[in-house]
Amino acid sequence: MITFQSVSFSYPKKKQAAFNNSTFTSTIKGGDCVAIVGANGSGKTTFLKLISGLLSPHKGHAHIGKELKASYLTQLQHYDRIYPLTVFDVVNMAHPIPKLLWKSHTHQQNESTIRALETVNLIDKKNNHISNLSGGEFQRMLFARTLAEDSDIILLDEPFTSIDETTIEILLELMSKITQQFNKTILCICHDLDLAQEYFTHVIHIKEQQPILYTQDEWRLFFSENGGRHAI
């Protein structure tokens, strides 16, 4: 599903490479919900960007299976919340862009958008402007877009930042529903190690330029044996 072989990558203005001849062996499959953990600057976002193709490695191979479709949701603060769009407009962006200015999406595409909004319980807000949404609702709207895209793998870059605990639980339940009911795979950068232990089926730990995959039980063992939070 994920290829990450002998990857070297560094950013132009940084002396230290984000990845240096790093290899990640993956047994991730459909229905898995994977947390990506690591210290600040360990390369979590870079890892997601490399496998999604948003960044190209200087050496090696990094990609998601060619037959699989991936969605990438950036951190919430990167979205312009006062952009003149409704919830429906944003979720409809999942579909191919109409070629000409006056062309609209097809009836089937609009129907799939409606179904996605129903799944995330935002159907009653479909005509609301995005500025009227709370952080959690905004994130649910973006989840709906990935459902309408019918992506096999959903990559989430810190979706819980600036979101209260109750809403995080709602989002986690939704993520669980997406993976189990629709057989999607979620890779989610997560700073909260308790959440990572409790709600995810696997954990990818990135340390010293090396991503390593753990099952939930393996991660718990590793976590307790290596001094808890100091393991990061």
């Binding site: 999604s52 948003l54 991936a70 862009i97």
Partner: protein
């Protein structure tokens, strides 16, 4: 009384060819600049617009020194300088630790100074005023033709570019994963902005060009909330502002460029008080 008002509005255009040319130039410019201006506001690129509108000056000045007030020469010179100011500022920013807006500000001030220096050394006060403030009432056939060509080119390109640009401004990552080149889309957009600023410069001058592009867009952003409405309102306000500005400048014998921009500015200030009470954003 109604007859007099009508006469005030249409008589100048019936009587004088230069007023008809000015109106045609204004409408063509407004159709394209208002749409581009809307995206500049959406993308929060007003500083970029400022930099481009002033950064084109040395190119125009050099072209003027080589080929006089040749429409094609001024256009090519302005285009090259505009693209150069953006490329140099991005290069400067990537090679140092300064943010892009700072390098852009630094570069456009340098370009503006070079432009002033070149124009003043050309020793022609009349032409300096012409380039800085333009003269929409003296638009010749060549300039009008250029404005029409640039306007039509912009509108035709925007038929294909509007939706990808909308996506690129809101979520460039999504567009990238759909297989579009965000860099290409933004480069084409910037090229259109430079082209339109160069055309606007020749009509109302380099100092006023950005006003025609941005003021209707900012005003419509305050008054409307849906994407389509913002664009339509921006074009309508642009056309109204240009028409009213032209008529005021004609009847009160004022400089046309600044009058048009002031009318558009008045629309902007009024919109603050006229905006809907319960605004969605």
């Amino acid at each position: 009384m109604p007859f007099n008002i009508l006469e005030i509005v249409y008589q100048p255009f019936v009587d004088y060819g230069f007023m008809r040319s000015a109106l045609a130039a204004c409408i063509c410019l407004t159709l394209s600049t208002s749409i581009l201006g809307t995206f500049i506001v959406f993308k929060r690129m007003s500083l970029m617009g400022e930099a481009l509108s002033h950064g084109i000056l040395p190119g125009i000045a050099l072209a003027f020194m080589v080929s006089g007030l040749s429409t094609l020469g001024l256009t090519i010179g302005g285009m090259i300088a505009g693209i150069l100011v953006v490329l140099l500022s991005f290069r400067l920013s990537s090679k140092s630790n300064i943010p892009e807006d700072s390098s852009l500000s630094a570069m456009y001030i340098i370009f503006l100074s070079i432009g002033f220096l070149l124009l003043s050394s050309a020793n022609s006060g009349v032409h300096l005023t012409h380039i800085l403030f333009g003269n929409i009432l003296a638009v010749d056939t060549d300039t009008l033709l250029l404005i029409v060509i640039i306007s039509v080119t912009t509108l035709c390109t925007m038929i294909f570019l509007t939706k990808p640009l909308l996506y690129a401004s809101f979520d460039p990552v999504l567009l990238n994963l759909k297989g579009y080149s965000v860099t290409l889309i933004q480069s084409v957009f910037l090229a259109l902005v430079v082209l339109n600023l160069v055309a606007a410069c020749q009509a109302i001058g380099t100092l006023m060009a950005l006003g025609v592009m941005l003021l209707p867009a900012i005003t419509s952003r305050i008054l409307a909330t849906r994407f389509k409405h913002i664009i339509l309102l921006s074009v309508s306000l642009g056309i109204c502002g240009n028409l009213i500005g032209l008529l005021i400048s004609y009847h009160f014998n004022l400089s046309a460029g600044p009058t048009i921009v002031l009318v558009l500015g008045l629309f902007f200030l009024s919109s603050i008080f006229l905006r809907p009470e319960k605004q969605d954003f």
